[in-house]
């Protein structure tokens, strides 16, 4: 970090970081609640997740305002500029994670009346758990500005892709076995895709942390598992 003669720039950065951190906490909580709502077909909890998204949206707008104000006031360059742009990008990614948790919750609420829980929900739970570990890890990497840790998270996304592939096959099997499973399993397919996309946002955050720290980009395409050749 450049040594700032005007101390309050650091104070502004710290406030930005606190808002990103709050967004991360809300997004993780929304994901956990969305998964619980889905596993338990709990429409009330699902509704709470949908309601929680407003705070995340408000924080994203706040971060946008703060970054614009800092750029206008300080004309930051080099790593300082990367810090500000990075905060803006990460807040956008976290807002989208919240949208995905909201999507899962809306589906949970829709199928809550069906009372049909195939074994496949177990696969979704594994996806969720991995997605949350990854998200938590990348937010720690951001808090520590640790480029190596960010890159490790980025590389591990392939595991989530592989899990999605396995969930996809399992759901397809359920659908082929009994046409009455088709509607329900279709909802779970979309939930699984939502969790895989949480992983994509996590890797975007990892790329941003790497960029803040090094000024360089990770390759645009991650190594993909063999699995992803099959998953839709």
């Amino acid at each position: 970090m450049i040594d700032h003669t005007v101390k309050s720039f650091d104070v502004e950065l710290e406030l930005l970081g606190r808002h990103i951190s709050e967004m991360g906490g809300i997004a993780e909580k929304m994901l956990a609640d969305a998964m619980d709502a889905l596993a338990g077909l709990n429409a009330v909890l699902a509704q709470q997740v949908v309601a929680a998204d407003a705070r995340l949206d408000a924080l994203q707008r706040l971060v946008e305002e703060e970054t614009v104000a800092i750029i206008a006031k300080r004309q930051p360059v080099a790593v300082d500029l990367r810090e500000i742009i990075g905060a803006l990008r990460i807040s956008n990614e976290l807002e989208r994670v919240g949208d995905l948790a909201k999507n899962i919750s809306k589906r949970a609420a829709k199928i809550a009346g069906e009372g049909r829980i195939p074994r496949a929900v177990g696969g979704l739970k594994s996806m969720h758990d991995l997605a949350v570990v990854q998200l938590n890890d990348v937010l720690d990497a951001y808090a520590q500005r640790d480029a190596d840790r960010a890159k490790a998270v980025w590389l591990r996304d392939v595991e989530l892709d592989a899990l999605e592939d396995s969930v996809f096959r399992e759901l397809l099997t359920h659908m082929m076995e009994d046409p009455r499973n088709i509607t329900f399993c279709t909802h779970l397919l979309f939930c699984s895709k939502n969790l895989e996309r949480v992983g994509d946002h996590t890797t975007n955050i990892a790329e941003t942390v790497y960029y803040i720290r090094t000024g360089k980009a990770l390759p645009t395409e991650r190594p993909r598992g063999v699995a992803s050749a099959v998953t839709p």
Copy 2:
């Protein structure tokens, strides 16, 4: 528009506008090609769409750089600031539209070997056509800074939701009729969801145009069709 004593601010805005316009053109072309690739199971065309996405990503980064430079140099306020923030937001939305076209193309490439085209592709074509009309319309609204036209686009998104619902039912019927349709139709279900999401980004752009012009937000929740109670 505020009368600028420094004329070159308008030149900078115009350049930003040209980049947004180029992004819009690329996104529309990608969508059209993705739909053709899907309808014709054309893996070569699908690959071209995937390749085109790099230019869209590069333009998004360029718009980000330009907006940051303008904010730092001019400390814009009021409508000028909304212009800059609006350009940044719209470029983000268009980049995501490109991602969705890329997703559809990847699926087209995957199922190209199957040679199985159920009638449901017709429904997807209708969704695509409406999504492109809406996107084109909102980009015109942006070019003219026409808040009323933007709001009209925003309100019409409900038609795309209704179309998605009809495609969803049709695909489910194909899947229930013959389990051999399940894998193929699952891919089409995701394509249909991608097209519906193009509509969401279009409404986000509409909200941004409205914000630039009026300084106000449209309601956070659009009126939803009855359809959306069914569609997953």
